[in-house]
């Protein structure tokens, strides 16, 4: 295969770069070692920052966030819930921080308005009545899975190609210039060669190892962040603690759920990050101080992502102090490898800007002049897409007696129909239940796929798209992955339901002996 540019990494940055390249008419291919959003892009808060979080310590990041927040609300509005957010100070929070924040925001033209705590409590009665100060900011929640797919889908429509499950194993240079790479199909083991002039390394936490394949140097610090999902929303605004960034100080409502995050722990291992019981307990007790009901709400899952952060050599103990600003590195200048660019760091909120800057560099290196149009062009969204709003699904179903016999609900938690899942399976060569779940939301509710995953397995098997004899291993792999996320939040009603679910898989299906 031959192309102009290869983008490595199917996270937000890679997807944004691919779309930008496609819109500028540049031929491009994206390689992802697993699935779109398998890495950090699918393991975060789903928060569209207003920039206020960074206003005090990192004004550059804050400025970028603010600008991108406005742009994304225009071009990606279907996957954003522009609910607004608050910075809330409790008596134990440093009293000067609210003033610092207001001052910093004013300097950035960031609309941060102090409001009386009583007004906030009226709007959000579940919050702690101990709130001393409240600052209103334009935070929002965003669906990263849909955002990234929309970027990729538009790029594909314009001729770009995307290959999941392709792990890059070698990058070829001649006379200090990129001329291709080799990847392996992780499903079949098949080798895959692509000749190209440019490589954009958007591999996130794996960017360092990609750069090394070309003989370039790129040092990244890894910081693991764990998050917990509760099965009730509890608030209708993004809630930030009004204090210097710390553990468990951001709460983001997402559809019917609430996401609490994060922790920050410097790690060296980046594969398969897992949340720990201690992190979950820490997040919940921090969350409870500002939103007491958290203590009596079901936690349905925990997950962890690894942030790739810049400035490793200057970093101290706490990785939150490092700038979350991104780095665009032209390895032609840095390592005398022409045609290789690395784009690392940044945030989900600034993915588009990172893509724009990167593609600007590529265009310059090509000697071209096309300019970026991604900020003005709305992303495509399927007609049936809604920002996981359970209400609209209920309205679609109507009163119970009108359920047609064909309209089988396979996932009762998230009201996902058999037809929706069959359609997805027909469209894609799936090999894991997780992929089907991310696209349909089946299995994302309180039981976390405990009851619907055998049904999904049956549909996958019936579709003929998986080889005979692979259905049970696929189901078991899903269950083990699920357990990683549910185990740290296993107590109370969740443990009660889990015992029933485990009885289904062990006592009933006897899967522990297959």
């Amino acid at each position: 295969m031959k192309t102009e540019v290869v983008v490595i990494g199917g996270g937000a940055t890679g997807a944004g770069v691919l779309r930008d390249l496609a819109l500028r008419g540049i031929e491009a291919v994206l390689l992802e070692q697993e699935e779109l959003t398998s890495g950090t892009s699918g393991r975060n808060h789903g928060l569209l920052h207003s920039g206020a979080r960074y206003a005090v310590n990192d004004p550059d990041s804050a400025r970028e966030c603010l600008a991108e927040n406005k742009i994304l609300k225009k071009i990606a509005s279907p996957c954003i819930e522009p609910m607004g957010g608050f910075f809330l100070a409790l008596p134990q929070d440093p009293p000067h921080y609210a003033d610092d924040l207001l001052r910093a925001c004013a300097g950035l033209d960031l609309p941060a308005v102090e409001v009386p705590p009583a007004d906030v409590l009226q709007k959000e009665p579940a919050l702690s009545p101990k709130i001393k100060r409240a600052i209103c900011v334009p935070d929002a929640s965003i669906d990263p899975f849909r955002l990234i797919r929309s970027n990729v889908e538009e790029a594909e429509r314009l001729g770009a190609k995307i290959f999941p499950h392709r792990r890059v194993v070698a990058i070829f240079t001649a006379d200090g210039t990129i001329h291709g790479l080799q990847a392996i199909d992780s499903k079949t083991g098949e080798e895959f060669h692509i000749a190209c002039r440019f490589i954009i390394n958007a591999a996130g936490v794996w960017a360092g190892s990609v750069a090394r394949m070309a003989g370039a140097r790129l040092d990244i610090l890894f910081s693991k962040g764990s998050l917990v999902i509760l099965n009730r929303r509890l608030v209708n605004s993004v809630i930030n603690r009004c204090r210097p960034p710390s553990n468990g100080d951001i709460l983001v409502p997402h559809g019917p759920a609430l996401i609490i995050g994060t922790t920050s722990q410097t790690v060296t291992a980046i594969e398969d990050p897992s949340p720990e019981e201690e992190e979950v307990d820490l997040l919940l007790s921090e969350g409870e101080t500002i939103l007491p009901e958290i203590g009596s709400t079901r936690a349905i899952r925990a997950y962890a992502g690894v942030r790739p952060l810049m400035g490793a050599r200057e970093a101290g103990e706490d990785s939150r102090k490092i700038s979350r600003d991104f780095l665009l590195l032209d390895h032609g200048e840095a390592d005398q490898i022409k045609g290789l660019f690395s784009i690392v760091g940044g945030k989900l909120t600034t993915y588009r800007l990172m893509a724009e800057r990167t593609v600007d560099e590529i265009v310059k290196a090509m000697g071209g002049k096309t300019s970026c149009t991604t900020a003005g062009k709305p992303l495509p969204f399927p007609e049936e897409y809604t920002f996981h709003d359970l209400g609209s699904k209920l309205r679609k179903i109507g009163p119970s007696k009108s359920i047609p016999q064909t309209g089988e609900i396979l996932c009762e938690c998230e009201l996902v129909f058999r037809e929706d899942i069959v359609r997805e399976i027909q469209n894609q060569p799936y090999s894991s239940l997780k992929e089907i779940q991310e696209r349909t939301r089946a299995g994302m509710g309180p039981c976390q796929g405990g009851f619907c995953s055998p049904r999904l397995t049956a549909l996958l098997s019936e579709s003929g798209k998986i080889p005979p004899g692979t259905s049970l291993p696929i189901l078991k792999r899903f269950l083990e992955e699920r357990w990683k996320g549910t185990r740290p939040v296993m107590w109370g009603p969740q443990l009660r339901e889990e015992q029933l679910i485990q009885a289904l898989y062990t006592e009933f299906f006897n899967l522990d002996h297959f």
Partner: protein, 436 residues
Amino acid sequence: MFYDVIVIGAGLAGLMAAEAAQSQGARVLILARGMGSLPLTTGCIDGLGYFPRTANVSLSSPLSALPQLKKDYPHHPYAIVGQEKIMHAMARFQELCRVIGLPYSGTFNTTLLLPTPLGTYRPTCLVPETMNQGNLSIPGPVLLVGLRGLKDFSPFLAAENLNILYAQGKVASSFRAEILGKLDWGKKAANGLNLARAFDGEDFRKAFVKNVQPILKSGERLGLPAVLGFHSPAEVLADLKKKLQADVFEIPMPPPSVPGIRLFRKLQMYLQEKGVRIILGLSTLDPRQESKRLLGFSLGFSKKSPIYQAAAIVLATGKFAGGGLDSDRGRIFETLLDLPIKYPQNRREWFRPRLLAAEGQPFNCFGVEVNENLQPVDPEGRVIYSNLFAAGAIIAHGDSMSEKSGGGIAISTGYLAGKLAAGFGGKNKFTTDKNG
């Protein structure tokens, strides 16, 4: 209101305890929060499928493993009840099932392998006669038929995986799959309960047979999801067999399970006919006690709430799923009497990193410690309440999930606890001059 025995819990252990106590002449009351856990089970009675738990191959006889189990796990419920009483309890259960019209075949001395909707097999021990022909050691071809819309049964998935086991020589039956689409069971949703009720009707069965006849080859057994009748499965099965001239069997389904509900309803009706009072759906049970004796329970916290008293109490409340145990972030507790539970302080140790580890999850073994008379004891081994007996999953050290022993533990401990409670009640009857 005075009884000889109050049983808390309406699962299999509670019902067996009530029956055992009633048949000794005791006046029995069952109090339960829900409708018991039978609707969540397959309706089969597992004996002991795997021992040790990590064994690759299932036991050919639960009975033969009991001596070793007693050595390795002296506190296991089976070890406490003992072989002789286990056999009595099983025989009593089978007799009872014959009386209520839901006959069970099998013995505690043999393991049967039955198919599951995933196409795996599960070792079990006593099975409803409607499942008999599903025994995977019966050679010959089987046609699995699914019903469109019944989401927990894919005959194709089951047949594909069972045929892999057939090719490996692990089962003697081979499989083929078909799905029926056109049957009419009214405007109701396609779930096990609605289908079972439809099968009770002769017209539906006629239509079903008409659809199956053209696809069933001669010599094939017919395997169907366990929805063959809500009220009268024996009749439904006999009718289908006659009309199709073939052996027919049910395959247990994930909850809510029709065979489990049938067993619950018939046992409940039988006990009520025998004079056992059953009160289900209680949200509040407030225990009343004096020193080391339980007096009974108040159904609420107000002064006007009715109080039920008994000479002896059987605790058959189950583990977490049943509601007998509960937990918060760092603590596990018994929900009714706050009986002591042994568990690791660090929550991480309640679980194993791998979900399907054959040795089982530690939390599935948690429960109350009991002495040889099934009386809950404290960490020093002292009896906590002189008139309290435990039965079923609430007792520690049994892991029905990895051992495949749930039904057998429920029946044997329920039977023994019921007898002991009735015996205790007989000797310590309430005198009626206490306020009535």
